[in-house]
């Protein structure tokens, strides 16, 4: 059988507030295969954002392991994790998370600066990506001058900057109207189909499942389906 690109093995994440411990993830097992588009659906408070943090190496499990192409990531240093995030994972967030005082193009080139790419190449690549997300001509616009849908497209372009294999999207349509939300989902689905990206979408919106190869349902920190 084919090896999963992402594999979670009995992952626990526990938050402490004073003496109270809350297990947000309680033994999650999960396989995500290469070149698929997967949705993880769950109500708010089900632990799906925590799950995304772990999948995206933004956080480490308190117990259990996370494998990326068979490599155990739980022993890696912060810098190694940052390096993997920069090179192999692209993030798309509900809040767009663009840097407000930078232009669209500068937001897109930023991940390339962290990977020490040369400036000319980074700008060239940034322009191509803007074109890919249909935002040609918006290079110098600040996030505040763009609509929600446009901002999310900039964020997707930024996620693609270093040609990652994996795109992780956390409620990518949550702040958008249905028309824009649809456009964003089509864009993500296209990245999967045309660019062979592995896409994981976390959402509470069950309509999104329609775009996906498989759907995982999470409830109270456990995978129920």
């Amino acid at each position: 059988m084919k090896q999963p690109i992402i594999k979670l093995e009995d992952v626990f994440k526990i938050y402490k507030h004073g003496d109270v411990e809350t297990a947000v993830l309680q033994g999650v097992n999960l396989d995500v295969f290469e070149n698929t588009i997967t949705s993880i659906i769950g109500p708010s408070g089900s632990g799906k954002s925590t799950l995304l943090n772990i999948l995206g190496l933004l956080d480490v499990p308190d117990k259990g392991k996370m494998f990326l192409e068979g490599q155990d990531t739980s022993k890696l240093s912060f810098d190694d994790l940052a390096d993997i995030r920069g090179k192999r994972i692209g993030f798309v967030f509900q809040q767009f998370n663009l840097v407000q005082h930078l232009s669209a193009l500068e937001n897109i080139t930023m991940p390339m600066i962290f990977q020490k790419k040369n400036e000319g190449e980074a700008i060239e690549k940034g322009r191509q990506l803007l074109e890919l997300v249909n935002l040609r001509g918006k290079e110098n616009s600040r996030p505040g001058q763009l609509s929600g849908g446009e901002q999310q497209r900039v964020a997707i372009a930024r996620a693609l900057a270093n040609d990652p294999e994996i795109i992780l999207a956390d409620e990518p349509t949550g702040n958008l109207d249905s028309r824009n939300g649809q456009a964003i989902m089509e864009l993500l689905a296209n990245l999967n189909k045309k660019e062979q990206k592995t896409v994981v979408v976390i959402t509470h919106d069950s309509n999104i499942a329609a775009y996906c190869d498989s759907t995982i349902i999470i409830k109270d920190g456990k995978i129920v389906k």
Binding site: L102, M110, I113, F114, A159
Partner: protein, 408 residues
């Protein structure tokens, strides 16, 4: 190796986003650097002026003063003198060529009804004039030196042109403490008000007018023989003077100073060095205050940008990249402040220098050199980095998942 160019651009953008705050912090650091640059260049200028003045005195001249080395100013003001025996002893010391006692007193000069206090110096036309001309750079720019036994004076250029509301000319009559004397020469300017305010009169007339015994002196200059070693001659003078004093007065306490040009330079250098150190020390406090301003600004900035830091980390920034972005920001604040402060400091020092060219109390040149400028720029950049270090580290240590959860 980090992509410093890219990180620097990000840092600059951040500073531009918070323009007012950045400028206020920059002003804070600029004031500190301004003070240090001004005070350093002026105090260094004073040091150089004094040392060049001492150098103009020449190695061949040894100055002997009464009093204790530790209490130099006390004996200067107390009117203690070296008497005739002392002067004879100095003259007899091996290696001494000529001896010239220095006598002066304040008198009231009156010119065209206007009265001013001036310092009247006794001029020994034989040995003294040689020393003045040959080793101290005195020259008459117009007229002549006084002739023996005549009531004639030479005056400094400041007295001639600035002291009285009407310029004094050669051949004019000035009254000194009520006695009329004729101006026979005007001295070339030596570039400082003290030297240019001298009035000199021949020794015998000085004695007659003031009643001061010119065989003694409040200061004695000795010119050493050609080729003699100043240090050795100074020692000879010391011995000879001690012997005479012990024999004639029965005192074995050494209460006089024998100063070679080197030694005077040392003493002056020490005094001025301490002064400079103190002055710059105080100015440094302003720099520290500016530095704390940088730290404060940077901590605020980190706090405001937690989410942004989370974003940068999510898209692949390592701890070190975040660290460098913030260090480059604080370093740039320091550098711009340093550049502004240095520029203002040089400008201000030059204004002071210009003021003293117009009012030549002392020949003060602002001391400015390229290494000093380079050093103050580098220093202010590093200062920014130093005070930005803790804020930058706190930013770099933020955990990406936690910081992304913060909403602005």
């Amino acid at each position: 190796m980090e992509n410093f160019k890219g990180l620097f651009k990000i840092a600059l953008k951040n500073l531009k986003t918070r323009k007012l705050r950045s400028w206020l912090t920059i002003i804070g650091i600029a004031i500190g650097i301004f003070l240090v640059v001004t005070l350093f260049s002026l105090s260094q200028g004073i040091k150089e002026a004094v040392s060049s003045q001492l150098k103009s005195l020449g190695d061949e001249i040894i100055t002997i003063m009464p009093g204790d080395e530790e209490n130099m100013f006390l004996s200067m003001m107390g009117g203690v003198k070296l008497n005739k025996d002392d002067i004879e002893a100095i003259k007899n010391a091996e290696g001494v060529d000529k001896v010239f006692p220095y006598n002066y007193t304040a008198v009231t000069g009156r010119y065209l009804g206007e009265a001013k206090q001036v310092l009247l110096f006794s001029l020994d036309l034989k040995d003294g004039l040689d020393v003045l001309k040959g080793y101290q750079g005195f020259e008459v720019s117009s007229g002549n030196w006084p002739r023996p036994g005549r009531r004639e004076i030479v005056i400094g250029s400041y007295i001639a042109s600035k002291q009285f509301s009407t310029a004094v000319q050669i051949g004019d009559i000035i009254s000194l403490d009520g006695r009329k004397v004729e101006v026979c020469g005007i001295l070339k300017s030596l570039g400082n008000k003290n030297d240019d305010s001298m009035v000199m009169i021949e020794e015998s007339i000085f004695r007659e007018m003031t009643g001061i015994d010119t065989n003694s002196g409040s200061q004695v200059m000795a010119k050493i023989e050609e080729g003699a070693d100043p240090a050795k001659v100074a020692k000879n003078i010391e011995e000879s003077l001690s012997n005479v004093r012990q024999r004639k007065r029965g005192t074995d306490k050494k209460d006089f100073m024998v100063l070679t040009a080197d030694k005077m330079g040392d003493i002056a250098g020490n005094v001025l060095g301490t002064l400079q150190f103190a002055v710059i020390g105080f100015a440094s406090i302003a720099i520290i205050v500016g530095g704390i301003g940088i730290a404060n600004t940077m901590f605020t900035s980190v706090r405001e940008r937690i989410r942004e830091i989370g974003i940068m980390k999510a898209i692949g920034a390592k701890d070190s990249s975040i660290n460098y972005i913030f260090l480059l920001e604080s370093g740039t604040i320091g550098l711009i402040g340093g550049a502004g402060g240095t520029l203002l400091g040089i400008l201000f020092a030059k204004i002071i220098e210009w003021y003293f060219t117009i009012n030549p109390v002392i020949a003060l040149k602002a001391y400015i050199s390229f290494p000093i400028i380079l050093f103050s720029l580098l220093f202010s950049f590093l200062l920014g980095c130093l005070f930005g270090y803790l804020p930058a580290r706190s930013a770099a240590k933020l955990k990406p998942a936690d910081s992304l959860r913060r909403y602005e």
